[in-house]
């Protein structure tokens, strides 16, 4: 962390002394400080927001968090480091079962269980990264896809440990007293998630600005040039996989808490594929893109369902129609916006800035 802060700061000697910002402005100019301030503000706004929402809305919103964190990991791996993964659903499963088994067999506090989900998955991700470092493009896609297909079956093979098809129950933590007597577990969970989101976003934002982030991008852009510059390509790829897996594991742990149970049906190939699709549609390689992607994952299927229910068809037809609308939207969004939602947002901001400059 400290190293990356030093890295991110521009060389002071090269700047003219008069232009050095002073005092508070200088402090605010530091990316880490700025990110922390933005994160804290976001946290406070979020807390105020959930005070005005119904329990159902809060529950819906709290489904965004796990996806968001997993998408941050996937986005860094694929968008920044150039390694495709169709197996992040399986990594989420590892995090989810880690948390569940810890809750079942130990009396660990929540924070410890969440950190453990991230760490256990990180170790697994590092092992997967060792395999991945030898594979490229579609070969890596195939290997990770096979993992996503195979891993959930382990849970049905060893039923006594993992609970088989029904899976295991997960208890939601009760809200602490300082939130007031009326605070529900749903609200508390939403707040826990937002804290995790803010921490993960700040860590990754900082990481991407650092030497490590530059290594990631160098490997993505040109492996041979990177290797020639004395940076180990495989080591960088394994590191990227491990960190990405840690995020996916934390997302999985939170997902288990939100769902109230873990079962192999919740972590199928479909989840892995949806994550990749959401990552690309949100805007590959950007943290903001992960936000868009997770919102799309949670809300678009809901809208598609509402839309198809309005046509008053029978149950099975309307459920399938909702899926069809979702698939159609995937194709349409990529055709209209090949750079994802975040790409469009950037373009709009860029255009508006130019417009503002022109009259002056």
């Amino acid at each position: 962390m400290e190293e990356s802060m030093v890295e991110a700061k521009p060389e002071p000697k090269q700047l003219p002394a008069a232009k050095q910002p002073q005092g508070l402005r200088r402090l605010f100019g530091q990316p880490l400080v700025r990110n922390i301030i933005v994160g804290v503000v976001a946290l406070v706004l979020f807390y105020l927001l959930i005070g005005h929402l119904s329990q159902y809305r809060i529950y819906q919103l709290s489904q965004v968090g796990p996806y968001l964190i997993a998408l941050v990991g996937l986005s860094v791996l694929t968008g920044q480091n150039g390694q495709i993964s169709l197996g992040h659903g399986a990594l989420m499963a590892i995090g989810a079962w880690t948390l569940t088994l810890m809750q079942l067999h130990t009396k660990s506090p929540l924070w410890l269980m969440l950190i453990a989900s991230a760490l256990v998955t990180m170790v697994f991700g590092a092992l997967l990264g060792l395999v991945a470092a030898r594979l490229r493009g579609p070969y890596l896609a195939g290997a990770t896809l096979a993992l996503a297909l195979g891993l959930p079956d382990i849970t049905t093979r060893y039923q006594s440990v993992f609970g088989g098809y029904q899976g295991l129950e997960v208890n939601q933590p009760n809200a602490p007293s300082f939130l007031g007597a009326t605070a529900t577990p749903t609200e508390w969970l939403a707040i826990i998630e937002m804290i995790c989101v803010v921490v993960v976003m700040i860590l990754f934002a900082n990481l991407l600005r650092s030497r490590v982030g530059r290594k990631f991008r160098a490997v993505r852009d040109d492996e041979i040039a990177t290797q020639v510059s004395g940076i180990s390509v495989p080591r960088t790829q394994v590191l990227a996989f491990a960190l990405s897996a840690a995020a996916a594991g934390l997302g999985g742990g939170l997902f288990a808490l939100v769902s109230g149970n873990v079962s192999p049906g919740g972590y199928t190939v479909v989840l892995s594929i949806s994550l990749l699709a959401a990552m690309v549609i949100g805007g590959s390689g950007t943290l903001a893109g992960a936000v868009w992607g997770s919102l799309i994952m949670v809300y678009v299927p809901g809208w598609a369902t509402t839309l198809s229910q309005k046509l008053s068809l029978n149950q099975s037809v309307s459920a399938n129609l909702a899926l069809a609308i979702y698939g159609f939207l995937l194709v349409a969004i990529i055709m209209v916006a090949p750079v994802g939602v975040q790409g469009i947002v950037r373009l709009v901001i860029f255009k508006m800035r130019n417009l503002r400059k022109e009259p002056g």
Partner: protein, 292 residues
């Protein structure tokens, strides 16, 4: 020992279906560098067409051919109208579009034909053959699978090796710019390639359906094993697709038979990792060195 031979025969029969799916993936990958995940949905959709024709008393083989033609048209139309605009952009985008098509087509199949499991007639008996009193694990239908796959592979071999059209298709796949300069309509060749690939997918769907039943995403598992087979074979080699399919089918049959069928999916992952650790670009890949 009888178990061993039965597992082997089942593996070969399943493996040939995986080979067809792998072939569909390879034909598209080597010309457009896209992994066509929508192949599963295209196969299922074509099979549903055949099923509804058979329901209307159309003879089995007419429905079979109609489904293949439908698969061809669906693949060609997908390339021309959906994939063409995104092919030039990042390969990841093309993959996502293919996944979108997969979800869309499978859901549409559910809207049109319902999501319920249904039987698909096999025309040939699914009951094991008898040789000298012992019942084997292969049936007349498995022999039909072998015949269809061999005929199809020979037809493709003749097309690519001995016809001008096949030469033009190979040229478009390996050197599009040069092919275009020499007057080959590269775009048309790509459309044709997608059509052929999806026709192969449709055949795979028709051959798999009597065993895995027919429902909107009945081919998802088969697609992943087919993809595994294509990767093991090396993604740009049709021979690799055949060998990869057989290897995958036989290996999974042994794993399922001796260790338990719930380990088949895990087995696919293990096989992939083992093969790819030895040969990161598949067994029959022509790209031995990465381009600098």
């Amino acid at each position: 020992m009888r178990n061993f031979w039965n597992f082997l025969l089942i593996g070969v029969s399943n493996g040939l279906v995986y080979s067809l799916v792998a072939l569909g993936i390879v034909l598209i990958y080597r010309s457009t560098r896209v992994i066509n995940f929508a192949l599963a949905a295209m196969a299922t959709f074509s099979t549903f067409i055949a099923a509804s024709l058979i329901d209307r008393n159309v003879p089995y083989f007419v429905a079979f051919l109609a489904a293949i033609v439908f698969g061809f048209l669906l693949g060609a139309a997908t390339e021309r109208f959906v994939m063409r605009p995104v092919e030039s952009k990042s390969p990841l985008n093309a993959v996502i579009v293919a996944i979108g098509m997969l979800i869309f087509l499978e859901a549409m199949a559910g809207v049109i034909w319902g999501a319920k499991l249904r039987n698909f007639p096999s025309h040939f008996s699914l009951i094991g053959l008898k040789i000298g009193g012992a019942r084997l694990a292969i049936s007349n239908f498995d022999l039909f699978i072998v015949t269809v796959v061999v005929v199809l592979l020979l037809a493709l071999l003749v097309l690519f090796r001995y016809t001008k059209l096949g030469l033009m298709m190979r040229a478009s796949a390996f050197a599009p710019e040069v092919a275009r300069l020499l007057g080959v309509r590269v775009g048309r060749m790509l459309t044709l390639g997608w059509g052929l690939a999806c026709a192969a997918g449709a055949v795979a769907g028709l051959l798999a359906a009597p065993k895995v039943f027919l429902f909107p995403n009945n081919m998802d598992g088969v697609l992943i094993f087919g993809f595994t087979a294509a990767i093991i074979g090396g993604l740009d080699s049709p021979v690799g697709a055949l060998v990869g399919g057989l290897l995958t089918g036989v290996a999974l049959s042994f794993i399922g038979g001796y260790l338990g069928s719930d380990l088949e999916n895990v087995g696919a992952f293990v096989i992939l990792v083992v093969v790819l650790m030895a040969r990161p670009e598949g067994i029959f890949s022509s790209m031995s060195a990465r381009r600098v």
